[in-house]
């Protein structure tokens, strides 16, 4: 029996106090572990556990980390390609009104003038500067802007989106609503350029625009992109200090000497001066000559630590930490070829993955700019709401061409779709395909040729044909002439069939002109019309079914918790699991439509062969 038990038994009130303390401790534990809200105490977010990276202490640490060459490299890798990418405001639809709205937003946010919206609509800062400021969220976790506006005619535009130093946000400055976690105000403490100290200056939610890296729930300070590099940075910094000390010791070794005890004093003194001279960095003129001892032994000179090993013996450890930084920064491709292992051969596929990281970063920027963060409105939508009523399809900030060959993998599919007639050959399509190959051709190179047809009056070779014939010999010319002649003869024979029927109405009843004899006598136009209609209707039924399956798949993913904020981009690229079955259904339906077309063509020929041929 311990003393505690003895006291508790003898003095029951002690036991009660002890039980109460245990109960309170349990309650405290339960509250801290089961809290569903964001971890915030007295206006300071508390979800970061490392004290060096909390509160105002973190800014110096993060600054120091950004100056590490490998961390800076990772940041540049994530930031610079986005600065050179193409950013634009995409209209909500092809309607003139939506295009006008997009032009207006582009003029203000991207400083891109159009015929209607010129420089007077521009923001004070350029888009590139602002993008750089937005991407400070990678360094700091969040990037905050103070919005000011000005009127331009009847419109209201942003005058300035002023980037606020993240360190000026008071560590205890986040004022959130209970229950909803909406941001009410943010308090800042800072010194003005004139040296005036501002303590707890208030910014209302309506004045703020916020970009957050790794936003989860109400963690509005986010998490800096470089945060996971902290451990490696911390260890590397120490390793480098030790390596430097070691390099000092081994790279600039301390000389030591010994001489025979029989040497006279004056020789000893010269030897000491010689050893002293070896301490310098340029002992090029130094020399010493002295006698040997009676036993034939002479003096000895050594360097402390010279035989202790290589100068750069911490390299392996430091490389290991750099690899950790590259893992966290998604820059493994940069590391290949730099270290003793790795090969350029695998760099390309890795770069492909890293390109996806870049796209995700661009999408994050666009998302916040379009839709805002938490209860803070996105700049694009806010700007539209101030100036246009009843907008259904909002314009959006979008980013493309992060990599000159981005999207090139789809080109083959696009070409097939054009050949199949699913996509029309259009100037814009040609331009996009060419640009995906990194080509920038003159405007006229994209023009779509006029439809190639054989005019009804064509028959004889043109002057150009005859010139070409003179240059190239007669072979091609003969073939062209033969074809043209055959066509002419054929037209002559068939002209009766290609003329309008005498009794056919000129227009109407679903027809754009009078039927020709060919169409009136040998084509079942009602059946053709019906095939288009039934084909559409059958396809619609199948597509509705497929659409429903697709919808159910998306809902299943949501129900199974497979969609979260971190994998949203990979979800966006995911495939429909039921593709194979859906393809089979659609192909079967299309095949029925095609078979009808084939039957009709066969019937039309049969009808012509069986009918008595009239000649014009």
């Amino acid at each position: 029996m311990g003393l505690g038990d003895f006291i508790a038994r003898q003095f029951p009130y002690v036991r009660k106090l002890e039980e109460r303390a245990i109960a309170l401790e349990q309650i405290a534990k339960r509250y801290s572990s089961q809290s569903s809200g964001v971890d915030i105490v007295g206006g300071q977010f508390d979800y970061e556990y490392n004290t060096k990276l909390k509160g105002s202490l973190r800014w110096d640490v993060l600054e120091e980390m950004q100056n590490d060459p490998h961390i800076k490299g990772a940041l540049n890798h994530r930031i610079l390609p986005l600065l050179s990418a193409k950013w634009e405001i995409q209209a909500g639809s092809d309607k003139a009104k939506d295009k006008d709205i997009a032009d207006f937003v582009a003029a203000n946010l991207l400083n891109k003038s159009s015929d209607k919206y010129g420089r007077e609509f521009w923001l004070q800062t350029s888009w590139r500067q602002r993008l750089f400021e937005i991407l400070d969220m990678l360094d700091s976790g969040f990037s905050m802007f103070c919005k000011t506006t000005r009127p331009v005619g009847a419109k209201r535009v942003y005058d300035r989106l002023h980037w606020l130093e993240p360190s000026s946000v008071d560590p205890h400055g986040w004022d959130l609503e209970d229950d909803t976690d909406r941001i009410r105000t943010v308090w800042r403490t800072y010194r003005t350029p004139q040296g005036v100290f501002r303590l707890r200056k208030k910014l209302d939610a309506a004045e703020i625009s916020l970009y957050i890296w790794e936003l989860k729930g109400a963690r509005y300070e986010g998490k800096a992109f470089i945060r996971p590099m902290w451990g490696a940075f911390f260890r590397k910094e120490r390793l480098q200090k030790y390596a430097t000390i070691w390099a000092q010791k081994v790279g600039a070794p301390v000389p030591s000497g010994s001489y025979p005890s029989s040497w006279p004093e004056d020789v000893r003194q010269k030897f000491v001066e010689f050893i002293e001279g070896l301490r310098g960095t340029s002992p090029t003129e130094l020399y010493f000559v002295g006698p040997q001892g009676p036993d034939g032994k002479s003096h000895e000179v050594k360097y402390a630590g010279a035989d202790a090993g290589e100068l750069d013996r911490s390299r392996g450890l430091i490389d290991g930490e750099n690899a950790e930084i590259a893992h966290a920064g998604g820059t493994k491709a940069m590391l290949l070829g730099e270290t003793a292992t790795g090969a350029k051969a695998v760099a390309d596929p890795i770069s492909g993955i890293e390109l996806i990281y870049l796209e995700a970063t661009a999408a994050t920027v666009a998302d916040f700019s379009n839709f805002g963060a938490a209860n803070l409105r996105g700049e694009v939508q806010e700007l539209v709401d101030w100036n246009f009523a009843g907008v259904k399809e909002y314009p959006q900030l979008v980013c493309s061409k992060i990599h000159p060959y981005q999207g090139i993998e789809h080109v083959e599919g696009i070409i097939k779709a054009v050949q199949a007639g699913v996509l029309p050959m259009h100037e814009a399509l040609r331009r996009q395909v060419a640009e995906r190959y990194g080509l920038n051709l003159p405007d006229d190179a994209y023009e779509v040729e006029e439809p190639v047809g054989l005019p009804l009056d064509r028959g004889k070779p043109s002057d150009e044909d005859q010139d070409a014939n003179k240059k190239n010999g007669n072979g091609d010319m003969m073939k062209r002439e033969e074809r043209a002649l055959a066509l002419e003869v054929f037209r002559g024979r068939m002209s009766y069939l290609l003329q309008p029927m005498e009794d056919a109405p000129v227009r109407g009843a679903g027809f754009r002109r009078a039927r020709t004899r060919l169409e009136g006598m040998h084509v079942n136009l009602a059946a053709v019309q019906d095939s288009f209609r039934v084909g559409e209707s059958d396809m619609m039924l199948v597509l509705r079914d497929v659409h429903w399956r697709m919808l159910e798949e998306i809902m299943r993913r949501v129900a199974d918790g497979k969609i979260d904020t971190r994998n949203i981009e990979s979800q966006r690229r995911s495939k429909f699991r039921g593709t194979e079955k859906a393809l089979e259904l659609v192909q079967r339906t299309l095949r029925k439509v095609a078979d009808r077309g084939a039957d009709h063509a066969e019937q039309e020929l049969k009808s012509q062969r069986e009918a008595p041929r009239a000649v014009a």
Partner: protein, 152 residues
Amino acid sequence: MPLLEKYARGIAEELGVVAQVSLGDLWNRLLGEGLGEWTRLNREGVAGDDLERRLRAHLEGLSEKPLDDVSRKSAAVAYNQGRAAEIESLSDRGQVEFVVRSEILDDRTCEVCAALDGQVVEVGSDEFFQLMPPARCLGGERCRGFYVPIAE
């Protein structure tokens, strides 16, 4: 008369491309809408059953116009591919050499199709493929053009 093997194979491939592009369009649109709405709801703090209910309502409330467009487009392409395969097959058997493009159906024909109406082209020539309806039509999926074979 059955299609010649090479045309039967060709049409299967072409319809496969049409089907893939059509389904890709639908999936990308629906997934994009779904993830966009999920993100919006998530940002508003909606979760669990409520999120699922609202997301489903959003997806079920989407317009059917894209489905309608894909149906029209793919049916027009398929019907004309079927006609073309039959015509080419019969051309190989020496039964047809020329076709005429007809735009008689639909009284809202686009400028390009109106200009091509009545064009006679040789089966298998470059023009035959370049002008095969709905190629060149400004209305895309709304085209009602087709080739009529002309017997030898």
